[in-house]
């Protein structure tokens, strides 16, 4: 399929509108990308603030700062915001900015839809956050909202939560449709599928995952809505329903969801490693196949989150084997990154540092994932801080490092200004150290037996918890530095060349555009050799 692309401007100059309407009514992929990224940044600080409340309470045993009810609201909203409000919007923002520029298109295929899918998000999170100010308080049943705690026993604000999840789901689905349409219809001539940049590939696969599982999430919250308000008993044992059904449906969404949060980071990091190794990515096609097989396998592993729920032996073994299988394509990706660096010519600018941090620490998260996949061992790990350590390793130095690496990598392209390399490196090292001080000891407290989602704990866990809290505060403060660096770069900085990074000119179409790029990226489609 091909699309006719206008090759000339009608009215000579055509830039952004002025003032607030530029942002409200914008249909431009860069403006919308920027909105997504700032939204994600705002949510990072709100969700991060909640994490600070959690860590302040856990600094010492006993209840000091907040009561358990509010603590539960904090853990729940922290999780929901970080997953749906930070990681996912940041990736969509990067997709908006980069996909048209990487495939040689002027904009996204469906610009008005694009505007809608962004503006749904502030609405969804406005609704969610408003519940915190209602008399009954916000959702307090964990980001996994297991029934019947989230139905029969939930505060009535759960209805706002359900609505907000529906709105987020609509936003994600619209965004995915847009991305798939763009990738299939607007690639520059000559850009065959197997020549697409890996970030584009990663998003193509992610968008399919989203379209497949977001309706499942919508389904499960709708069933909750019916149980709460209309007398059905999907998840109510007293009415003949099945609380475990909730978990099966939720995790059928939930496991693919965790890959939605990492695949785009795989794409970003692949570009950065090849750029700063000055050597093409090793095993391009195996990278693509690995992502595709991870995506497919992610549909058959969901019950590894439910090993203690009481499944038949055959079920436990099946989900153990399928989960172990996922480690193979994940491993292949790590091997490929290492092989790309091998015999390269390496420099260590901030994006590269974040990418190396990503490869190392994400792999540690992969190792703990593998340990968690072993069912009998999971009986001991499940619902302890060991799991918390695992998913923070894959999500913070995983997904979030991927996003930060991408921001540093492309920021000079977006703004036309170089960021301050010294500050960038400082930001990396402070982040790298504090991430480990925060999340590494969680493995130990988890193994020693501290359950997750506890506002208070036994005395033997006190030392590690104090350490974790100190790390967390350090991490939180360090991210203000990130904000400062980004704002500073937007306002000033050394003029960036079109290729920005040495030799990047050959690596992707985005580097052939000026820095900052024109408002409509490619008005003339380039020819890809």
């Amino acid at each position: 399929m091909s699309t006719v692309v206008e090759t000339h401007d009608h009215d000579g100059h055509h830039g952004p509108a002025k003032g607030l309407t530029r942002w409200l009514f914008t249909t431009n992929h860069k403006d919308i990308g920027t909105l997504y990224l700032w939204f994600s940044c705002l949510m990072l600080f709100i969700g991060g603030g909640m994490a600070m409340v959690i860590r302040a309470e856990l600094f010492q045993p006993g209840l000091q700062i907040v009561q358990p009810e509010f603590f539960n609201q904090m853990t729940t909203n922290h999780g929901l915001i970080m997953v749906f409000g930070v990681i996912m919007p940041a990736f969509v923002g990067l997709a908006n900015w980069m996909i048209p520029m990487q495939i040689g298109a002027p904009d996204m295929a469906l610009p008005r839809l694009n505007n809608l899918s962004f503006w749904l998000l502030p609405m969804a999170f406005g609704i969610l956050l408003s519940t915190l100010f209602m008399p009954e308080g916000g959702p307090n049943f964990g980001w996994t909202f297991y029934a019947p705690l989230s139905t029969t026993y939930a505060p009535s604000t759960v209805n706002f939560f359900i609505f907000s999840v529906h709105v987020m789901g609509v936003s994600s689905i619209l965004g995915s449709i847009n991305i798939i349409t763009t990738i299939f219809n607007m690639r520059a001539p000559g850009m065959a599928l197997m020549k697409m940049p890996l970030f584009v590939w990663s998003w193509l696969i992610t968008a399919y995952l989203l379209i497949a599982v977001m309706p499942v999430l919508a389904g499960v919250v709708t069933m909750m809505l019916m149980d709460i308000n209309f007398g059905t008993s999907f998840f109510n044992a007293a009415g003949g329903g099945d609380p475990v059904l909730f978990q099966h449906v939720f995790w059928f969404f939930g496991h693919p969801e965790v890959y939605i949060m990492i695949l785009p980071a795989f794409g970003i990091v692949s570009h950065i490693i090849e750029t700063f190794s000055r050597k093409p990515i090793f095993g391009y096609s195996s990278m693509v196949y690995a992502m595709a097989s991870i995506a497919i396998l992610s549909f058959v592993v969901w019950a590894h989150h439910m090993f203690t729920v009481g499944m038949p032996l055959a079920g436990e073994l099946f989900f153990m084997y399928s989960t172990m299988l996922i480690a193979i394509p994940t491993g292949v990706k790590v091997f490929n990154w290492v092989a790309t660096m091998f015999r390269g010519s390496l420099t260590f600018e901030t994006p590269m540092l974040f990418s190396i941090g990503f490869v190392t620490l994400f792999t540690i998260g992969g190792f703990s994932g593998l340990m968690l996949a072993i069912v009998p061992a999971d009986f001991q790990y499940h619902d302890t801080y060991f799991v918390v350590a695992h998913f923070h390793y894959v999500l913070v130095p995983g997904a979030l490092f991927g996003i930060m690496a991408g921001v540093y990598y492309w920021l000079p392209k977006w703004t036309g200004n170089m960021y301050d390399e010294t500050l960038g490196k400082l930001h990396f090292w402070l982040t790298f150290i504090s991430v480990n001080v925060t999340f590494f000891p969680m493995h130990f407290v988890g193994l020693a037996g501290m359950p997750r989602r506890y506002p208070d704990y036994a005395l033997q866990f006190a030392d590690f918890n104090a350490m974790i809290s100190v790390g967390a505060f350090m991490f939180g403060i360090t991210q203000l530095l990130f904000l400062f660096i980004v704002i500073k770069t937007i306002r000033s900085g050394k003029q960036a060349k079109p290729e920005v990074w040495e030799g990047a000119g050959d690596l992707g179409l985005e580097w052939t555009l000026s820095s900052p790029p024109p408002y409509h990226s490619f008005t003339v489609q380039p020819q890809v050799k």
Binding site: P68, P243, S286, I328, V332, F342, G344, T363, M371
Partner: protein
Amino acid sequence: MKKLVTKLVLVMFSTLPFVIYSAENSDYNMPVGVTEVSQSIFGLHMLIFWVCVVIGVIVFGIMFWSMWKYRKSKGAVAADFDDNFWLEIGWTVAATAVLIWMAVPSTQVMVQAYDDAEGEINILVTGHQWKWHYEYMEDEVSFFSNLSTSQEQIDNKIPKGEFYLLEVDEPLVIPINTRVRFLITGNDVIHSWWVPDFAVKQDAVPGFINTAWTNVPETGIYRGACTELCGIKHAFMPVVVRAVEMEEYDAFIAEKMVLAEAERMLTSKEWTKEELMERGESFYMTNCVACHQANGKGIPPVFPALEGSEVVLSDSAKQIEILMDGIQGSAMQAFGDSYSEVDIAAVITYTRQAWSNGKNGDGAIVTPKDIVDYKNKIDL
């Protein structure tokens, strides 16, 4: 500077395994536990851990070495290869082989742990918001196990004891060297019953009965926790199991049966208001305060106040009904199933006298006999 940092990182990662290794059997690692199953699981855990360490050392080793060797600042010139068919096939096969090799012992331990055959002793474990209920199926003995750490300790008003949050008023008692099967279920929301030293963790799901088993070879006190988020007091419903010699166990059961008999006698006794008040207050303080609070003011709107409530002031029949059957769709559970007539009558009497209620309401006294009558009426 850069070199130093790289070295530092290298040192950090290469010493980690040793730190962990030296910490085996300590507060840093999974407990070895006392049962055969917990020990096999510990072995499995260490095995996978070392496999991960070895893979990590190889992969990170090559990576850090490449970063060191192929620095541009050292004049490294990039090679130009971007694939190697046999290498890629090779590492995929190697990874698969390692996983299959790990799957074998994992499967064996899983089969060992998973066994739902009858036990010599069968105990029904029920998770309640926020306490555990234990019922010895063979002996018709049952009781609740509540956190015994005081609220003052939690609120940092007095120093915390050694077993802060890990102590209960009545631990579960089981005999050693006996196959004990647990039948685990939930009364309201999902809880999860975990004793690390037995490697038993099983969700307590309303409407389902899950099984787990153990056979403990050593006497001792084993402490665990609820591991599925179950509401406000999730962190305050520990599991404590006391494993004892068979003789002591038999004596315990016998004593419990005598107590149960005495409890039944109490129902037919004539109760004075003071006796009911005293018993009611202590019941209230263990079972009701979490939601309705010691001052009876509750945490509205989720947990309504009892002080000044219409029902508590002037409708004792309605109050009996609520306590016995709970309120559908709310956190107010049916207490009638799990507590004696005496306790229910006492706590109703107490709430109708306590705070300002005695002065403002009818102050009706409810006796165990009223509760028995209510039950009989329902049976009809």
